[in-house]
Amino acid sequence: MSDRPVADGGSTADGDPTVEMAEQAERDEPDLDRGVFEAWAAKAISNPNRAYRATFYVATIFFLVTTLFPFYWLFVIAMTPRNALSTTGVLTPGGTPRAAVDLPLIDAALSVPVGLGPINPGSFVDIFQTLPFHRYVFNSFLIATVATVAVLFVGSLAGYVFGRLDFRGRNPLLLLVLVTSFFPPAAFFIPLNRLFNANVDVLRPLISAGSLYNTPYAIFIPLSAIFLPLAIFILMTFYSQIPDGLEDAARVEGTTRIGALFRVIVPLSAPGVATAGVLTFISVYNEYFFSSLMTDGQPGNWAPMLEGTLRFQGEFEVLYNLMAASSIVAVLPVAILVVVAQEKIVSGLTTGAVKE
């Protein structure tokens, strides 16, 4: 972070100093004593568009560095051998040989990396051996997938009703759905916690303990409901855009009402369904509150990925490199999803909000 302003200043000031000086000279400016920066400033004043363009580039580079740098640094820590962690630098792994270089003008020295120190890609293997981290990630994946399927199914029915049908009580019911997303999860948690910890004899054949605590249901049921309103809003928007004629044609051909929904409306709104699906998956995978409170943190008890990552923070002494490595592994699925489905994410977030 500390090196950012320097980099930015550099890119604006010396973007094209020689060309600029030459141009300056050609245009027979009387004042020839200007430095590079002053010359640039003079040009910017005479032609404001240059200044706006420069601001644009500086801003773009600034945003790129601030959003991506933490991931790079996480990688640096993951590659640092455990005994060198305390010497981890801003840009280089710990243990890199360094030499002090005196800075001109100010009384300070900068230690500059020279050569390569030992690096340790083994962290990425260790995280699966110290803890069954793959099991945690699998649990998260399963919960997110099941929740996504459930939300898409239930949300499709509701989105179809709100988007295409006219009936009494439509607006109050829609408002009720919206209100649910206002409340903090904490306001739902205490009764749910009681409910999921209660022993229900009916469940005994299904779940050995007889209560929902420490089962994937305890996480995926609340999360499905919490992320359902957003999915309903997205699906409602997409379903309402299908022309009535197509649905009527399917009905004339002999499908049932439900058949028309799942054979005509849903396939035609595939982009909308994908959008709602991607957003639900990411939201459930990333959720913290219920995910951290509804299991006891054992991988065999369906504890999600976040418990695995936190284990490296708490249970063992100082496994900073493993924390970093596990974070990178856990980020990969969503990072890939963002790269593949960024248009869907953008359109989903905006329709979800604009509808309101």
Binding site: M1, P48, A59, F63, L64, T67, P70, F71, W73, I77, L85, S86, T88, V90, V154, G155, L157, A158, V161, D166, F167, L173, V177, T180, F182, F183, P184, P185, A186, A187, F188, F189, I190, P191, I221, P222, A225, I226, L228, R257, I258, N286, Y288, S292, M305, L306, Q313, Y320, M323, A324, S327, A330, V334, Q342, I345, V346, L349, A353, V354, E356
Partner: protein, 335 residues
């Protein structure tokens, strides 16, 4: 729930309810299709919300098997708001009330939690709106590689909260992160920022801004792209500078989208829990949700926890109402 039975049973059993559905009016059909969604919402949201309110009217029963005692009316709320509620040891810790600069020494814990939550919500939404506006203006331009810049800006939004917390935990860890050293060099932080309330508050704030600015940026971008480009051409022809074009065209036209985006972010920011729990810990930076969990897990005061939880919901609703009124005044039909 109806989905399960439908999957289990065969086609012939399925046929009869479907036939019945065919013969019903559109209205009945609509209600039937809404049943699964509202069943889910009722179990997870409506019923618990009412229960939370009911619990909050009962007394704490710390020792007995059932955590709730007799009916005490609004006593829990009165005790919380007047600062009479005493929590166990960590709540009266001197470092907490002493080092947090904005709240007076020894302030009641709930007031601190409300203050932390509101301060966090307001500051984070302000910063995120400003920076998000900048990002949206960048993304609104047409340039080579725009797709990848957009990916880079969205990625922090999409990462799990626990990973976000890990990144900032490591950055400000005194032994390995350079964040502490840098902030100390600036003279802002102490030696162990993650155990000081005010330093941790800043860390949590920065972490949240880093992650959720992208969300604001995307919503503002949608507002920007709905502006008629012809307006800019007219302004250019009449000689408006880019700053004037921004001030007189962009800003007023994007305002409704901006307010909606801010409403969403404020509601979300007031629920802050995971980020705090995984970095500094709930005792260091107490938010309202943190308070619920501490009261629940560490002192087993379920009724008090319920009243804090319900109070959180009330505070958030109050904010929502303020926003909705502002929205209605600003532009009529948006809300």
């Amino acid at each position: 729930m109806s989905t399960d039975t439908r999957a289990d049973e065969g086609g012939s059993v399925l046929a009869r309810p479907l036939d019945w559905l065919e013969t019903q009016s559109e209205e009945v059909y609509a209600y039937v299709l809404l049943v699964p969604a509202f069943l889910l919402l009722a179990v997870v949201a409506f019923y618990p919300l009412i229960e939370t309110f009911r619990f909050s009217l009962l007394a704490d029963a710390i020792a007995s098997a059932d955590p709730f005692g007799e009916f005490v009316g609004l006593d829990n709320y009165v005790a919380l708001l007047t600062g009479d509620t005493n929590f166990t040891q960590q709540f009266v810790s001197v470092s907490l009330s002493g080092s947090f600069p904005f709240v007076g020494f020894g302030a009641p814990f709930l007031q601190q939690a409300i203050f932390v939550t509101l301060a966090f919500a307001i500051l984070s939404v302000l910063f995120e709106t400003t920076i998000g506006f900048g990002q949206a203006l960048v993304l609104d331009q047409d340039f080579y590689g725009r797709r990848w810049v957009r990916v880079a800006i969205i990625i922090p939004w999409a990462i799990p909260i626990v990973i976000q917390a890990m990144i900032f935990f490591l950055l400000f860890n005194p032994t390995i992160g350079f964040g502490t050293e840098f902030m100390r060099w600036l003279g802002v932080f102490g030696n162990t920022p993650l155990s000081s309330s005010s330093d941790s508050f800043v860390i949590v704030l920065v972490a949240d801004i880093w992650k959720t600015t992208a969300f604001m940026a995307l919503l503002i971008l949608a507002g920007l792209q709905s502006i008629d480009r012809g307006l800019y051409d007219v302004a250019k022809v009449s000689g408006a500078s880019p700053w004037q074009r921004f001030k007189y065209i962009t800003l007023p036209l994007v305002a409704p989208a901006l307010l909606v985006a801010m409403l969403f972010r404020t509601m979300d920011a007031m629920r802050i829990y995971g980020l705090i729990d995984a970095t500094a810990g709930c005792e260091t930076v107490p938010s309202l949700t943190c308070l619920v969990i501490i009261a629940l897990n560490e002192s087993r005061r379920w009724a008090t926890a319920s009243s804090v939880a319900f109070l959180t919901a009330v505070v958030i609703s109050a904010f929502v109402v303020v926003y909705l009124v502002a929205l209605r005044n600003s532009d009529g039909g948006v809300a």
